[in-house]
């Protein structure tokens, strides 16, 4: 039986290229394409999907947030992140969101099909350029977790997602639309997070999100 794959990328040229390459590998079947994270989540809710190839840099709901949503709805669905970014923050965010692989977009020989096969067999995969860099950082001791981040360890992936959006100034209504949830549910998340984090208002949540590096001020505002 073929492995059903959803492609999520806002660039058609990438979707077309990947689709054609997967078309050469017998075991994969592209059953859908999405340009946005919201469309991808909707697709997953309506059709059983074995794997998702996800661009990390989607506009709106980004690839990491979309991955967290997909994994929450379909824990068996395996998400593979495709990224132009190769910094460890992107890699760590992607893996924490539930992705099984992080593949760097390159022009030359892609490890795409091999990576998909590994992930389908239950494994994980990082592009060599990414894993080499991470190993070097770990060897230097640069990847130790920061004490401030410990405050967020008690939050679920969904709560972290909402916290980031709150800290970015989005209203409960806006967050509800982006995550396809009821506004009341978002309000409930806010209350639970405040209780867990010991803060009393949105300013406290924002401060925590900033100090732990979960989000950052827009550059102009940070000046």
């Amino acid at each position: 039986m073929p492995i059903d794959v959803l492609l999520v990328d806002d660039h058609k040229i990438m979707r077309d290229g990947i689709k054609a390459i997967l078309g050469r590998a017998e075991e994969f079947r592209v059953i859908g394409e999405a340009e946005t994270g919201t469309d991808a989540v909707q697709f997953i809710k309506t059709r059983k999907t074995d794997m998702v190839l996800m661009d990390i840099g989607l506009p709106g709901l980004n690839g990491v947030e979309t991955t967290a949503e997909i994994v929450r709805h379909s824990p068996d669905c395996r998400v593979v992140i495709l990224s132009m970014y190769d910094d460890e923050h992107s890699v760590v965010s992607a893996i924490r969101s539930g992705a099984r692989a992080f593949i760097l977009k390159r022009a030359s020989d892609t490890d795409l099909v091999d990576a998909l096969r590994i992930v389908w067999r239950g494994g994980s995969y990082l592009s060599p350029q990414v894993s080499d860099r991470l190993l070097a950082r770990i060897q230097k001791g640069d990847l130790e977790s920061k004490p401030a981040a410990a405050a967020l360890e008690g939050l679920s992936p969904r709560e972290l997602q909402v916290l980031r959006m709150v800290a970015e100034g989005k209203t409960s209504k806006e967050i509800a639309v982006m995550l396809d949830l009821r506004e009341q549910t978002i309000r409930s998340y806010r209350k639970t997070m405040m209780k867990k984090l010991g803060v009393n208002n949105v300013a406290g949540l924002t401060q925590l999100a900033l100090s732990t590096g979960l989000t950052q001020l827009p550059r102009a505002a940070a000046d």
Partner: protein
């Protein structure tokens, strides 16, 4: 012409970085995928295609470095 302020200049620089990342790099990657398909369908072109792919990959790596320098990934925590 009025000179841009520091904040405006930073915004322009970030916009340039994002444009490289979101606009130019995917085109290079997409072109690379198409070349890989060409090589699969016409193995006799492999040598020439590999040459072009290497050049394209070099260009992509430069674009990646420059774009990350101008506009860090959205997952990068703020510098202290």
């Amino acid at each position: 012409m009025k000179k841009p302020g520091a904040g405006e200049l930073r915004e322009q620089i970030e916009r340039a970085g994002k444009s490289l990342h979101d606009g130019v790099a995917p085109l290079l990657a997409g072109a690379g995928l198409k070349l890989q398909l060409l090589r699969m369908d016409h193995p006799e072109t492999a040598e020439q295609v590999n040459d072009v792919l290497a050049t394209l990959d070099d260009a992509m790596e430069r674009v990646r470095r420059l774009s990350q320098e101008l506009a860090p990934s959205p997952f990068t925590p703020p510098s202290k």
